[in-house]
Symmetry: C2
Subunit: 290 residues, 2 copies
Amino acid sequence: MSDDWDNLRAVLHVVRAGSLGAAAQVLGVNYTTVSRRIAAAERSLGARLFDRRQSGYVPTAAGQEAARHAERMEAEEIAMRRALSGRDDRLAGPLTITASELLIAIHLCRVIDRFLTDHPQVELTVRSTNEVLDLTNHEADLAVRISADPGDTLVGRRLTGQHTASFASADLAARMAAEPARRIDWIGFTYWKSPPVASLKRYGNARIRLQFDDMNAVVGATQAGLGVARMPMFLGRATPGLVQVPMLPPQRYHDIWALSHRDLKDAAKVRAFRDALVQYFKENAAAFSA
Amino acid sequence: MSDDWDNLRAVLHVVRAGSLGAAAQVLGVNYTTVSRRIAAAERSLGARLFDRRQSGYVPTAAGQEAARHAERMEAEEIAMRRALSGRDDRLAGPLTITASELLIAIHLCRVIDRFLTDHPQVELTVRSTNEVLDLTNHEADLAVRISADPGDTLVGRRLTGQHTASFASADLAARMAAEPARRIDWIGFTYWKSPPVASLKRYGNARIRLQFDDMNAVVGATQAGLGVARMPMFLGRATPGLVQVPMLPPQRYHDIWALSHRDLKDAAKVRAFRDALVQYFKENAAAFSA
DNA sequence: TATGGATCATGCAAAAACGCATGTATGAGC
DNA sequence: GCTCATACATGCGTTTTTGCATGATCCATA
């Protein structure tokens, strides 16, 4: 019965990953080690957990049952780490934050700079991604999100309101001003069906010329003069070569929030970073609104 | 983040045991190993979990928090083992049963003998104790209990009803028959306040001469002629030198049950042992009732 | 039908974990 | 006040675990 729990962890990851090798990569060990862990777990539990196939390790019914329980053990481990982080009153050690790439690039990098200067002992990890990380699974301690919905176990602090508006390259803006009757080419974002409704009253002669699933691409295409794009004020203003154009009057958009798991909201490092955010957004509120 | 769960298990056991050495004994390793595990856990969790005192390792608030979570991980591990045992359809491998010492000694040993002959592959552990083992914690797969209450997560099968009656040594029985007016000396069991109520109507001249907290002692004292004792029929009849005496007419007593955790009730080995019990108690019902 | 890319199994050397022995400190009991 | 028992810290040799390299098998694909 000794040295068992880590074997169960291996079982969980092999079930998830589907093969020894893939699980080994996640666990950061050689796959032969995973193989031995699985064998040990089967010995200890007295049940065959996997069918060894050439395509990989396929869990038996018993293996799936074991993985279900191991998953709950993992959830409990994560909850433990969260709880311990949450009572950590040191301004030192690891801290992970996440935000969208654009928000980081344009604004948060300055908050981060300031924060690290003030708290040099903190080992900060920034997960700059457009994926929505799972704060419940402790993938990050704090997230800056453009969203109205903090969710169930999360607690939030509103940082600022913001507007979106229409932007175009300076060239294109000049051409459109010179030829008011000319058709407006919009650069769309995923799932757009038509140009922004609020723009159609005054600028009905419009179409979506092309569509992206990535905001960086939208920005690039707009800079290249391919069309008019709707984007947050802070993004349009900060992007070289773009000017605001009148097609879409500024629209209220989702507020920007700082979110944390309830367990983590009072951790010293989380609190300090949140305070830094609040101060920055207070000083720079003008950048986000019309 | 590798090799962590076993460290958390060490934390749990040190919190429980209060010292490295005691925890090491439970874990079956040297205490220096436990010491290193604790250090590793503290490193990984980034929190001090114990105060090192000369009197032992005293958990900090963080350590208690960690132990609470580790406790749930352990509960989940136990649930896993139960679930896997429950779906085990082999009549081989480990099986643990428990019952009171007397029941084992007098009757169950014969069931066990028969069972092991029929299923030689089963590695049977018999926990013959008067403690009530926790079947929810998987301390045993099956229990034979004298009790009406199967409990929440347990499922039971009634094996037989039974009676208690009064027994004495043959000598004392003869003397009492010869001198009907003589005072009856009862041998009491823990918490008895007076001789059995049902006996007082006809044998009011009675007292409790001495009292034991252990049924084996009661049996010995009765054999030695120290007095009359109330005991289950099966026990009085099976004890050499004792005869039933009329002071206490046979009384209905708690039924005898075979109990298992719900998860385990259909495991092949559990089912087979339960069947053996049912058959034995059917064949020997007369031994338990008046 | 041959080939490249997966997968898992196994033998062997390197690395890490482990247990033992020793030393120190504290508190209980005579 | 002394001894004894208990608890933790630490250094060192040994055992165990781990990673790597090789070999075998299967599948997809050209």
